[in-house]
């Protein structure tokens, strides 16, 4: 059993860390690619790899790889006046802390494995003794009911800590240290100012980050992230029950990640590069990478708490159950392992979408001033999150005491939100697929002589750009 646990843990750690690692790398590409689309540019497309005499460009997807290689081969520079120990520790702390965040984030429902078989029984459908569908498809569950039948639970979370989200808060707080000691140890005025900005900004938004989730905890009644997801699967997604907290948390998370419009610690138009001005090569790359990894972990947290985590609307442990109140419209039994794996895919897909939204935000807003940022945090977001606690408490208790009619109404409303989500997801996926096969039109306003001549000759490049 211990060997199995060890193996499972290693696999889970690899899944999570590799997902963060790879998505962060791809996100650097997505950031540049998306920005080029927004800004009417071609974007990165020059990194090329030759395989069997064929040039492979993959729309610039090789650029993160090329960047990484370049970072590694750059001169390893340390300013002579720097504090050697802290200067060394800073990038390690900044990068290491990000990966520790994923420990308590569940990426799938508890999967029920057969104890006596090596591989999960993919085709096992929960049916009654005569092969008929069971009356109620289980909405969710640990494998307690089945353990008699030889099923063992495998929780799809690296470390199922009871403290759940508190651990995430504790660890995300450490992210400040990397930025702060990087700036302080560099012996550079711009770095120092960047570090101070980073420290004060991150501690300020840490407060909002924590307070905005109190409302969510009150409703979910737990700090365990997997139980939060189960509540959302059972009822409605967090964004519907805590809309204000969602926006507060999103803003605070973007501020914690030090991204535009809150990227003051590195504000390159003011502080050149902020706290990592004196870093070069891969040491800079580690900060750069940590920023994107933070975007991924922040998105994971947002998805888990507000966007239903692995939950898909109407998908329950053993199948699809479309139910409004007590009216059942559709009941399809689907093998439990399939549902769980679908949930894992849903979780990672949602994380990618949220990361993508952050890319959009980054490329469409100017940045705040330092004092405006602090005021926004302390004077607007913090009181708003306190008010959120108050409103949530009053409304929730009132509903609790109002009797069964109110809770039945809420029950149906929750199912309606699930339907809304299902329709929205279907629509977006459909639009994405249609857009993928649609033709791309690009209008150019070419007027000038040489541009006109070039256009008549078919562009300025003899070979078509892979844009």
């Amino acid at each position: 059993m211990t060997a199995t646990l060890l193996l499972a843990t290693i696999v889970k750690i690899l899944i999570m860390v590799m997902f963060v690692l790879n998505l962060a790398a791809i996100l650097t590409w997505a950031d540049r690619r998306q920005s080029s689309m927004i800004q009417d540019r071609v974007g990165p497309n020059r990194a090329v790899i030759k395989i069997f005499g064929k040039e492979l460009r993959l729309a610039g997807l090789l650029h993160p790889l090329a960047d990484g290689l370049k970072f590694f081969t750059k001169e390893d520079f340390m300013p002579p006046n720097a504090d050697r120990l802290l200067f060394t520790l800073a990038p390690i702390m900044a990068m290491g802390m990000v990966f520790t965040l994923v420990a308590t984030i569940p990426f799938g429902d508890t999967i029920c494995l057969h104890q006596f078989r090596l591989f999960p029984d993919f085709w096992h459908v929960h049916t009654g003794p005569h092969g008929e569908l069971l009356d109620g498809v289980e909405r969710w569950g640990t494998c307690a009911a089945d353990s008699r039948n030889g099923y063992a639970p495998l929780e799809l979370v690296v470390a199922p800590l009871g403290v759940g989200i508190l651990y995430v808060f504790a660890m995300s707080g450490q992210g400040i240290i990397g930025a702060a000691i990087a700036g302080w140890s560099s012996d550079n005025k711009f770095s120092l100012m960047g570090a101070l900005r980073a420290a004060s900004q991150m501690v300020s938004y840490e407060v909002t980050l924590g307070m905005s989730l109190v409302g969510a905890m009150m409703i979910y009644g737990t700090v365990r992230l997997d139980d939060m997801v189960r509540w959302q699967q059972e009822h409605a997604w967090g964004i519907f029950v805590q809309p204000l907290a969602f926006f507060l948390f999103f803003a605070a998370a973007v501020a914690e990640n030090k991204r535009i419009p809150f990227d003051l610690p590195e504000a390159e138009s003011e502080l050149v590069s902020g706290y990592f001005t004196e870093y070069a090569g891969m040491k800079f790359g580690m900060f750069y990478f940590a920023e994107y990894a933070e975007v991924v972990t922040g998105s994971m947290l947002l998805v888990t708490i507000f966007l239903g985590g692995w939950a898909l609307p109407f998908f329950h442990r053993d199948g699809l159950l479309v139910q409004f109140g007590d009216t059942t419209l559709l009941r399809v039994a689907i093998p439990h392992v399939f549902v769980t794996l679908l949930g894992v895919l849903a979780f990672f897909g949602k994380v990618i979408v949220v990361c993508w939204i952050q890319v959009f935000v980054r490329w469409s807003l100017p940045r705040f001033r330092y004092d405006q940022l602090m005021k926004l945090g302390w004077r607007l977001l913090l009181p708003a999150s306190l008010a959120n606690i108050l409103v949530t408490g009053v409304v929730w208790l009132a509903v609790d005491k109002a009797g069964s009619a109110a809770s039945d109404g809420l029950r149906i409303a929750a199912d309606v939100t699930q339907a809304v989500v299902a329709m929205a997801m279907t629509y977006l996926i459909g639009r994405g697929v249609v857009g993928m096969f649609g033709t791309v039109t690009h209008e150019r306003n070419i007027i000038g002589t040489s541009a006109g001549i070039a256009a008549r000759r078919g562009g300025t490049k003899t070979e078509p750009m892979q844009a």
Binding site: S269, R367, R369
Partner: protein, 398 residues
């Protein structure tokens, strides 16, 4: 001088603050801001005395881009100078050429044909659109960051500006350093179908200007970053010799195109764009309004463009052909950044070159406001203020 000290005192700013007079225990920091800095618009340096993030004193240093253009002009013949001054204000070369050649024309007493005056006016207004678009892009770059939303507007503005450069290329063959003005008129006549191309470009710019406004002067973060920042009072602006959009944003209704018409402005009435606040936002609004006004002027100019010769001076065969024995002239035009003047003294040695040539660069005067309006703001605001003054270092340092 009294106005300077008075208005500085009213703003609670001492531009000549001696750091030694301050408390040595106050943890002040002297930050060299530039010349090698992403947002100093070239090579400009400010020394900021900081208390935390707050600027106590700002000292501008210019001269990193000094190329000795005025001295060079004393050695070159009158005809050879046009392409040299193109590089002064490298964002608006058309108006540089125009100011220089108008000074020579006044010294020589040459009459410029009507068509050439109208063409110069159209060029100048197109150049103003291009210059203001570039300014809008770089200003949001200062506010929004080169790695974020700022770049988006920057790239879009550059795209539109490109269509204007294409128009100039059709006329002169060069995208940027045109050398199309000459003594007595213009070198190149407009190609066939140019007005249709202009209309196409203007229509695109006009239709997209609303979006750019939404991303800049109507964006709430942009407004929060610029409103009430770097307030330049009207009398201080006058005292410092600040002109152009910076002056008009401070409530002084002064526009050379309307007050001392040259070119075709006597026949094309100009509506000066004025704001009262004098802060960065006002300067931004004035410039965006001026883009609209310039679009209108270009359209009016093309509609009323007369026929006729484009040069009123005998064709120039060799550089030494133009000789000016003596006399002096000062001509100022309303460039995109303000009063762009050329002062020329004839009778140099040899007489084919001026004895002395001085260019009045509006950007240099704009920078002189920095010690008065930056203190009391944060480092971020210092960047915003510098950007809003729209300095071009090539013109400042010459």
């Amino acid at each position: 001088m009294t106005v300077l000290t008075e208005s500085a005192a009213r703003a609670g700013v001492d531009p000549h603050l001696a750091p030694a007079s301050l408390d040595p225990e106050a943890d002040l920091m002297l930050l060299h801001f530039g010349p090698q800095h992403p947002s100093t618009h070239g090579v400009f340096r400010m020394d900021l005395l900081l208390d935390g993030e707050m600027v106590l004193k700002a000292t501008p240093y210019v001269g990193y881009l000094h190329r000795g253009v005025e001295k060079l002009c004393e050695k070159l013949s009158f005809v050879q100078q046009t392409p040299i001054v193109d590089k002064n204000d490298y964002v608006a070369p058309m108006t540089n050429e125009q100011a220089l050649n108008m000074a020579f024309e006044r010294l020589l007493g040459v009459e410029v044909p009507r068509r050439a005056r109208w063409m110069r006016t159209i060029f100048a207004e197109l150049q103003r659109i291009a210059s203001h678009l570039l300014w809008l892009g770089t200003f949001t770059l200062d506010l929004g960051g080169a790695l974020g939303g700022g770049t988006t507007l920057f790239m879009h503005c550059f795209r539109e500006r490109e269509s204007i450069l294409d128009l100039f290329e059709e006329v002169s063959g060069a995208r940027f350093h045109y050398n199309t003005h000459t003594i007595g008129g213009n070198r190149h006549d407009l190609p066939a179908g140019w007005d249709a191309n202009v209309e196409r470009a203007l229509r695109v710019i006009e239709s997209r200007l609303g979006e750019y406004e939404a991303m800049s002067v109507a964006n709430s973060i942009f407004v929060a970053r610029t409103r009430g920042i770097g307030v330049l009072s009207g009398d201080l602006a006058l005292e410092l010799g600040i002109t152009g959009p910076n002056l008009r944003a401070s409530g002084i209704d002064h526009d050379l195109r309307r007050d001392a018409p040259y070119g075709a402005y006597d026949e094309l009435p100009v509506r000066a764009c004025v704001a009262r606040e004098g802060d960065c936002l006002a300067r931004a609004r004035v410039r965006v309004d001026e883009i609209r006004e310039s679009i209108r002027l270009v359209r009016a100019g093309l509609a009323g463009l007369p026929d006729g010769p484009i040069c009123g001076f005998k064709p120039i065969r060799q550089p030494t052909q133009v000789k000016i024995a003596g006399g002096q002239a000062y001509v100022a035009i309303e460039g995109p950044r303000g009063e762009l003047g050329t002062f020329v003294v004839g009778g140099g040695d040899p007489a084919t070159a001026p004895h002395r040539l001085k260019i009045r660069a509006p950007s240099l005067h704009a920078l002189s406001a920095i010690p008065y309006i930056v203190p009391g703001h944060t480092v971020s605001d210092a960047v915003a203020i510098l950007g809003s003054l729209d300095p071009i270092m090539g013109e400042v340092d010459r």
